[in-house]
Subunit: 377 residues, 4 copies
Amino acid sequence: MYILKYGMVGGGEGAFIGDAHRKSINLDGKARLISGCFSRNWDNTLKTGEKLGVDPERLYKDYAEMAKAEAARSDKIDFVVVVTPNSSHFAVCKAFLEAGINVVCDKPLVFEIAEAEELMRIAKEKELLFAVTYTYSGHITFKHVREIIKAGEIGDVRMVMGEYAQGWLYSGDGGKQGSWRIDPGQSGISNALGDIGTHVENSVSMMTGLKIKRVLAKMDAIVPGRTLDDNSVVLVEYENGASGTYWVSQFAIGCDNDLKVRIFGSKGSIEWSQFGSEDVFITGEDGIRKLLRRGYGAIAPNAARYGRLPAAHNEGYLEAMANIYSNFCDCVIKQSEGTLAPEDIDYPGLEEGLDGVKFIHKCVESSKNGNVWVDFD
Amino acid sequence: MYILKYGMVGGGEGAFIGDAHRKSINLDGKARLISGCFSRNWDNTLKTGEKLGVDPERLYKDYAEMAKAEAARSDKIDFVVVVTPNSSHFAVCKAFLEAGINVVCDKPLVFEIAEAEELMRIAKEKELLFAVTYTYSGHITFKHVREIIKAGEIGDVRMVMGEYAQGWLYSGDGGKQGSWRIDPGQSGISNALGDIGTHVENSVSMMTGLKIKRVLAKMDAIVPGRTLDDNSVVLVEYENGASGTYWVSQFAIGCDNDLKVRIFGSKGSIEWSQFGSEDVFITGEDGIRKLLRRGYGAIAPNAARYGRLPAAHNEGYLEAMANIYSNFCDCVIKQSEGTLAPEDIDYPGLEEGLDGVKFIHKCVESSKNGNVWVDFD
Amino acid sequence: MYILKYGMVGGGEGAFIGDAHRKSINLDGKARLISGCFSRNWDNTLKTGEKLGVDPERLYKDYAEMAKAEAARSDKIDFVVVVTPNSSHFAVCKAFLEAGINVVCDKPLVFEIAEAEELMRIAKEKELLFAVTYTYSGHITFKHVREIIKAGEIGDVRMVMGEYAQGWLYSGDGGKQGSWRIDPGQSGISNALGDIGTHVENSVSMMTGLKIKRVLAKMDAIVPGRTLDDNSVVLVEYENGASGTYWVSQFAIGCDNDLKVRIFGSKGSIEWSQFGSEDVFITGEDGIRKLLRRGYGAIAPNAARYGRLPAAHNEGYLEAMANIYSNFCDCVIKQSEGTLAPEDIDYPGLEEGLDGVKFIHKCVESSKNGNVWVDFD
Amino acid sequence: MYILKYGMVGGGEGAFIGDAHRKSINLDGKARLISGCFSRNWDNTLKTGEKLGVDPERLYKDYAEMAKAEAARSDKIDFVVVVTPNSSHFAVCKAFLEAGINVVCDKPLVFEIAEAEELMRIAKEKELLFAVTYTYSGHITFKHVREIIKAGEIGDVRMVMGEYAQGWLYSGDGGKQGSWRIDPGQSGISNALGDIGTHVENSVSMMTGLKIKRVLAKMDAIVPGRTLDDNSVVLVEYENGASGTYWVSQFAIGCDNDLKVRIFGSKGSIEWSQFGSEDVFITGEDGIRKLLRRGYGAIAPNAARYGRLPAAHNEGYLEAMANIYSNFCDCVIKQSEGTLAPEDIDYPGLEEGLDGVKFIHKCVESSKNGNVWVDFD
């Protein structure tokens, strides 16, 4: 098996998400970290590189330098992982795309709709692969939900309740992980909605295939002194006439990381939650709630194929992310072999990234204008 | 112990709620059914009366006749229970109040705000007691929530998520119990919001003491062919600046009778659900979720005093309703003895009934006008 | 409808279980309390009688006097409820049977096997009805389990795990409810096993129809200073070769009243718990766990017919007990009309009572002899 | 950071557990696979080696050859991972120990007590490290339980209920994973008890520190045609006088991989389960059940230090195993640096392995002799 080479921008010491990406990739061993610009602080990059066993020759002070230098090598990286603060996603991704290197970027993709569209244009022109790590979409039960909805198991989807509740920013400034999130300079026009609300939007979208027609958002900054939202509710109308409600909070003491999607159709319903993502609950017209667990024979093959362990030998967050990387790596290899087909791609990409950016902008517009309906397109 | 005498209007054969009221009252035996006008159908009234052991002399063809006849007796009923279809609540309640008889009326109280206000006026003038059976408010854990919020245990309440989801009207006409609910002629201007949404409004109001400032509602009739709402979301702003979201549905397959209230404060949160009402979950600033069960030593005395059984010897729906009746009966006796103090009253009354009627009207107004904010007063 | 008359022995002020019996009977109103000997303390009997509205003429100082006096009246009670301490069950039940009065007796029935057999003999001779209130057997989901096992839904039952764990006697003397239980003078040869272990034995027996062949018991008195068991494990072999394990504890902090039965068959399994008795979980060969709730269409008719409320309008402990009384009252009436058929009887009776007594004796014998197998017959 | 080199015996194509070990090690990247004898089938070894990127020069036809060849190299492996069928554990482990190579061996360690003692002797003599992968002991909440019991949080441990229930062998031969387990030739004297019962024994032992004094076991072969146990119950007496009950089953339809330990002390109790191992439930004398989650501030530092992700970003089976490897790798490095202290070792080793072997033998002896008590030493 060919083991891919990857580089990373961001993910220096103390950065949680970069480490999670590396561990996820390690899990299957389909790619190996061989290059990096882990921090704007050169010492941090050096230290992180040493700790991770990266050849110092392939450590860079600057992402632009890295993109150019890597592009020029015969043993260049097959893809770069971008896990910098959101505000620099656009510039970094653009630099690597222009250098002809495939990209995996953390969500939310970028700040501006036009930025997302520009990345789409370049990626298309250069025929490059681009994944946006909506981690939870990697869960096997998440994929199973998508498959059974597609197969009509719950009939027409007519109503959706999505929520992502956390409590860790219920007061104060949230420490290292929280302070930049509540700072408009670093988080852009939204905090909670951008950070976790986009997971709700993405989950509903990828599970159901529903397209948003318009939104009405109420974005609150509950904790005194904040300017960015820490609790939001969004009413959604989909193009097919279905209704949705998304609740997003970082103020909710007692909630840790509670992404939950309930999908109601004309013949059944589905309840899926991130914390309980080894299981999914499905109810049909007889009202009997059925627990389906990753690893069971009834899991759809298109979802089950990602499984590593038998049922109830728990897979978790890193496996979900690893599933995205696993498929992305397979696609990179197929692309290099010229055998990539559209249906091979089973990870969220630039389109999903753009949807997230749009979602944030439309919600902010709605909320600023007094909680009025705003069309999505 | 003096055993009170009560009469009932409505609750003939096949009516679920009348039977539930009678069983609840039976539970403690503080009052005995001795009079009734169970149906507009005289045969039904006769049959029901016989089955319940009511003296035929005290069966009536007509509620107005009953109010007059009972008022004239020396052994008249101490109170009447009104469990007719919602459309006749006003007329029936008014007749008994005017006859000088205490009233217990099922919710929602009446259709029009002015009607609720008129009942308030008469009850006050005649010094009569009036309970509105928001059944769930009788749960001991419900009362415990109210007590600890009052005591400041979770700090300032800043956000509330309430929901009441059912699935039984996910299609078709719902049979005997459902058909009148989706008929504007019998249900008035709302179906789901009026029937179960008022329970959310009432629960939040009684638990937190928060007053609604304004609402923005989206009321949907999801099932094709319906004109009344079967799924609604209401954004709420309270007078203290807190935010709330109420979701109400009869379309939600997989939900049976799922009233759930999550209350988030500056120092903690509470999760309470009707189906799990023997327990309540409380989380403080350490994030540790604590399960408190009816019957435990930690239950507030003002709530615990209603307990009949030790912890985990389950009390349920009838006990919750019985707690309302138990307190109402005590108050009726105290009133007759001239010892009733305001703090003795621990049941929802006309004020709560009026709030419910207002809530429905304001939400309908908001929804009709394109989901705009409507002030509550 | 004819309303039956009943008397009660035991159940004076401060006695939890007598009150629960009265409330259960009140629930349906099929019988009315008109006679009593509530306590060995005459003042208590008088006070309790007054509070309950019993004619003082029908209050008695002594159960033997009551049995005789009631038997002599033309308006005598239709049945007596015996809720005295266990040590007097035999004498009281015998007195009423000999007086020709039907009996409902709390469990465990009596102390000695011979006593149970004598009651059986008299009841048979006098053609009297006798119920033993294994309360939990009244739950609708309990009956549903029995029905589906009978119908072969889980194949042959081959293994059973039963447990009844409480924590309230984890130390000290347990107060009024606990002190007599840990006193050999009042509880007989066993405490926890007799008090709650018999519920496990009864539940498994009534649900599965399995007959015990032999037992091996380890009965511990964990809390220092106790002589009677507060924690026991019993290995069971059934006549059909299946295996069972029963765990019973009053030492288990964190458990309130946790009777739970897991039944494993060759084609499926069932999990039922008292605290969650509105639901029952059933798994078939596909491994998918299904939640079935009281009130659902799929509940077996022989179980569903006891329902009072729609699904998720919780019924609890009192309803379970009331279901026993409801069926018992129906049988008493049919018996008096001469129409009673064996299949009408759907409550635990003397045979189940005898099984419980045997179970205790055989377990004690096993435990005393060093945890050896003891045949059941 | 120095990256260790490891080899693997067993774990060829189609072997679940070898793959899990590799992925666990990959997770942190502290060691890299560079050598292997993956199968007795040479083609399988070649294919597996190629897929895993192992230099063909370091693939071996035979474990004995591998031990010798690796021992002779200057760049020899730092440790070997033994994931062969249980029947060959002893021979393989012995070969590597004698060659001076540290060992990680899957559980159960070996078949015979004398074998375990011999491995202990050699490891001690050669000053080698030896881990036995009782995977679940790696969970952070597992370690937290150990820490709080040590700290006296629940008082004296007096009673334990342990269970490990699976349903996958409820009939038939269980396919590739199951067939060797029910074959005495490959599994030795026990199936379920050896395979999963040892996890219960190990969990209780490592969590509580209790030493077993004697056991009484009932080992059943429920499925017709089996000779080895598929369902067992073991009564346990510990040296401190506490009581335990372990239930182990592969017949339990509806159970997937349900290892659960409930520990009852004089001041509190703990409930821990493998499937829900992100959480642990703790109850104190007030009866209030508290949910503590991996990632919370209240988790004991000695447990929390293994955490990779924030609370509710689920860690699972592989992380638990990775925690064992993470600590083992640290110890190997410290050992090579001469800085290893006894308290550094935080993984189950030969002593735990020996306990498991003893447990199986004593239980089998008890069961064969008619379920009698058998002393542990």
